[in-house]
């Protein structure tokens, strides 16, 4: 989606502000929202792409005026509501109105959780179609103004870059976020001259590298 989260290249958002001490969390609720999101993720009721989409898919004012962990909370609430795991009314009352949905396992204990964290989630997949591009190929990023999830930022769509490396086959976020399967494709690092993206406002020496899936690209004309 062309959403408020797609920030690359926007003006008017102000200076980058340093912060003394830079604690990872600023309020107790941020700690809990962070941990709840991770812990509920362990259940596998959604994947990371669905969870990114649940955070980004909202009015730009809502997105841009919410803090980072506020977006995590809103995303989590939406995922839980959409899947019938927690009704918003239950949060309003502060108590569960029913048991956990059938088929969901009980809470992960600390040891299991630690093992899941350490294992991580490998997003690389065998079975992708053969790569259509090779390092050095000039590619055009296709315009696809679809309302769903995608990881091609607007600033590089319709622009020509050069494939820098092939990362291998990876789960495709565009389908995976919407329950349409992992549909793995090769994912490439594509180098764009900064001037291709921003015109003469940019330095002729600089470049931006964007990781883009095979289907996002076509051979440059």
């Amino acid at each position: 989606m062309n959403g408020g989260h797609d920030l690359g290249g926007m003006h008017g958002l102000g200076p980058v502000e340093a912060e003394p001490g830079e604690p990872p969390f600023h309020e107790e609720w941020e700690r809990r929202a962070f941990a709840l999101t991770l812990a509920m993720g362990f259940h596998g009721a959604w994947n990371i792409d669905a969870s990114r989409h649940a955070r980004e898919n909202r009015h730009p004012v809502d997105y841009l005026s919410s803090s980072y962990y506020e977006l995590w909370l809103k995303g989590l609430e939406r995922l839980l509501a959409e899947r019938g795991i927690v009704d918003p009314a239950e949060i309003g009352h502060g108590h569960a109105a029913g048991p956990r949905p059938e088929g969901m396992r009980p809470a992960h204990d600390p040891e299991t959780a630690a093992a899941i964290l350490a294992r991580g989630g490998d997003a690389r997949r065998d079975g992708a179609a053969p790569p259509r591009f090779r390092p050095g190929d000039r590619v055009l990023v296709r315009e696809r103004a679809v309302p769903g999830h995608t990881r091609a930022p607007r600033y590089c769509r319709g622009r020509v870059g050069t494939v820098d490396r092939d990362h291998g086959g990876f789960v495709l976020p565009d389908t995976n976020a919407h329950g349409l399967g992992e549909a793995p494709q090769h994912c490439y690092s594509v180098r764009f001259a900064a001037r291709t993206l921003w015109g003469e406002a940019a330095s002729p020496h600089d470049a931006v590298y964007v990781d883009l899936w095979d289907g996002y690209l076509e051979p440059a004309p």
Binding site: L7, V16, W29, L36, Y68, A107, S189, S203, H205, V210
Partner: protein, 201 residues
């Protein structure tokens, strides 16, 4: 209109209520939440990344492995797992300066850097790092010569980037541990250089 999640109670109360609901449903274990918080608040952080950098500075074979297959080389030092499954290390040189951002959300290499600071997740950094990297670097106190090539890495997929900064001059006699102490998180994101001993902020 703006807030599509409707009229919600104050956020701290909302989080507390959500935790209570999930605990009552038996879906989360408060002890597990405590562990997750403790892990990312006190155990995992940029000292991990600093050790990777110091090792690369002192061990040419390790440096080569790190640039060839960062995930494995970083795993040698024990740093693995969530948000570090697919690592790439990009090396600064006198001619090339690398800098990392995630314009679409806030992807960040947790096992080596911990959780990101607020500015990395902020709209100003995400919008400007790709458009005006030199302006952003200037705000961080780093003025790069015009002829240096700035490469900005936008973490749009599951690859996570770590910048291997240049080893500062005057550090020949230092041990790996002393070198690691010089390496800042900002230098591994690419918004700073590593200063010589004694020059750290």
């Amino acid at each position: 209109m703006a807030n599509q999640d409707g009229d919600a109670p104050p956020i701290a109360a909302r989080v507390k209520a959500l935790e209570q609901v999930l605990v009552e449903k038996g879906l989360v274990d408060p002890a597990t939440l405590d562990l997750l918080i403790d892990t990312y608040e006190t155990k995992v952080g940029p000292r991990n990344g600093a050790r990777v950098v110091a090792r690369a500075w002192t061990d040419p074979d390790y440096r080569r492995r790190l640039l060839d297959d960062a995930t494995s080389a970083i795993a040698e030092l024990g740093y693995t797992g969530r948000q570090g499954e697919h690592m790439l290390v990009v090396e600064n040189t006198p001619a090339v300066h690398n800098m990392v951002v995630c314009t679409l959300c806030s992807c960040y290499p947790w096992p080596v850097l911990g959780l990101p600071p607020v500015w990395y997740k902020s709209a100003p950094y995400r919008s400007r790092a790709v458009l005006d990297p030199r302006g952003v670097l200037r705000e961080f106190g780093l003025e790069l010569p015009e002829e240096v090539e700035v490469r900005v890495w936008d973490s749009t997929a599951e690859l996570r980037y770590l910048v291997l900064p240049e080893r500062p001059a005057g550090t020949d006699g230092l041990s790996e541990e002393e070198l690691a102490a010089l390496v800042t998180r900002d230098a591994m994101i690419g918004v700073a250089r590593v200063g010589p001993p004694g020059a750290r902020p």
